[in-house]
Amino acid sequence: MIHYPAVVVIASLLGAFIAGILAWVQERYTYPAALIATGISCAAAVWDLIYVAGHGPIAYHMAGWAPPMGIEYRIDTLNAMVLVLITAIAFLNLAASWPNVKQEMPDRSPSFYVMYLLFVVGLTGVASTGDLFNLYVLIEITSLSSYTMIALGDRDRGPISALNYVFVGVIGASFYLLGVGYIYIKTGTLNMAEFAAMIPNIQDSTTILTAFILCIVGVFIKMALFPLHVWLPNAYSYAPVGFARIVAPLMTKVMVYVMVRLMITVFGLDYIFIKLHIADTIVWLGTIAILAGGVMALAQTNLKKMLAYIIVCEIGYMVGGAWLGNDSGITGAVLHILNDGIMTFALFLAVGNMVYKLDRVEIKDLKGLFAGMPWTMTGFVLAAFSIVGVPPTCGFFSKWYLILGAFEAGAWHFAAALLISSLICAVLFFKVFEVCFFESPDTHDGPGSDAHGHHTTVAIQEAPAISLAVLGIAGISLIVVGLYSKTIVVRLIWPLLNP
């Protein structure tokens, strides 16, 4: 039996225990232990992806118990892709964030690394489990570890934003749990595949309808779809940099993955699009989320807050795309999970580098940053182009599929929202570029003095080499994933839609 699906999750879990013990014994070994654990997870996830792309889905029985009784990990191309995304970002971020963690919480870094590993356990577990109740437990593991890490951030506002996140997060997870309860009442099973086989016979049941609505609403709360997004901007912008860099690209995207999984595998596209008539409403919700996220991002003066609202906007892309009800829409949404993960990661890496040197990232404080941090800004510009959707970067391709899907479905409002949001993002980022590029730092009083040469008081310097190297990898993968997006779509996403 192939054990790699379990290794992905268990490597980080054991790593968390070992790192926790090492924190007592010899503090400085915590970080290498965490790095090795995520590295093993990442290698196993890559192996999963290669195997699944060649041989088809893996059904792994946890501890040897067969599915209806035991918990099944089911890896197909969608999971495998998301798992590689999660573990690669976790590993790279850990490498890049070492200087930030040392700077922000010198006394509490061992506990940070332990919680970080538990967070990775939760995310990878959510992405690989084939059991509905197990999914709930893993979502809660993810959320609990993120509450604690958000509280480690900003001393004034961190704990309060974390508390608000706790209240909203508990409501979301409880709704999902309630939905699973209704599924269990009707079918007596918690296994996704077994439930999916039963659903054609019980399509008319109101219990199943209730279960579906409860599960989806719970997931919407967890992923911060527009009217339910209020917890997200504060939680993400007051978190410590090392954590913001992983939670912003991954948490919401993994919840989108859960939604896609519920749609494709659990309830089935036939049930959702033929039996239920709610798809149009949800595409409208996605449209509103895109526009509202964009407009609120325009109003922000802090770079982190602005990016947080862009995440709200991107969630609208994926939700709307998945609910368009055609192959292009779902392809676009799934591809956007991958692309948006990488784009957001690159953006937050760049912002983390700025925070490392500047401490605060009000947009007006970023004057002259192109001269001071050329490499960081290059990565930032590349990621920003990808968010806007400029062709060689990956953001363009998923947006292309989404727009194709919108035209096929006749959802003109959604297509219009996509185009408008691209415009808004362009405006947003050029506003930042203008400050960073054209305005010279405040260190000079005279209007005539030029930027280089006279850095008398505070010279902005480039971030540590390791952070820059990771930013470089993220920037290159933006373009590589863009160029290979056709291969990704054909090999990984289409087999999912037409098995």
Binding site: F133, Y136, V137, E140, L144, Y147, T148, A151, R155, D156, R157, P159, I160, A162, L163, V166, F167, V170, I171, S174, L177, L178, G181, Y184, I185, L190
Partner: protein, 133 residues
């Protein structure tokens, strides 16, 4: 009218959990004190645990420990599922209780942090203090 009462009485466990859940949700939304909100959150989660536990129940059934002849000695003897209540929802709730206790613990720790920093747990005062900065 009697039909309605019959309907409510027959499925009273569902009504009970919904009422409890709404009490919890009300406390989480309307209360001003963070500690009261936490208690509301706990009521909300407990309501769902109650719901799960109640769906495992069967009339004239006993706890799911195999009785007498059906034990280790009695191989091949038929075991009637109707004689035993369904243990699965209860087992699931053991996990959910652990999750809710952990959430409550983390949330209380956060409350302590907030209190140490601002010396208050009233939300309107906190909001005032935050807007001053």
């Amino acid at each position: 009218m009697t039909e309605l009462f019959m309907l409510i009485a027959a499925k009273y466990n569902y009504w009970l959990y919904i009422i409890l859940m709404m009490i919890g949700l009300y406390a989480m939304i309307a209360k001003n004190n963070l500690m009261k909100k936490l208690v509301g959150m706990n009521i909300f989660q407990t309501a769902i645990i109650l719901f799960y536990v109640s769906i495992g129940f069967k009339h004239n059934a006993t706890i799911p420990i195999i009785m007498g002849d059906h034990g280790h000695g009695g191989h091949g003897a038929a075991i009637h599922a109707a004689d035993y209540i369904n243990p699965v929802p209860h087992v699931l709730m053991l996990t959910a209780i652990v999750v809710s206790v952990a959430t409550f613990g983390v949330a209380m720790a956060l409350c302590v942090r907030v209190y140490q920093r601002y010396h208050t747990l009233e939300e309107d005062e906190l909001r005032m203090r935050l807007s001053e900065k």
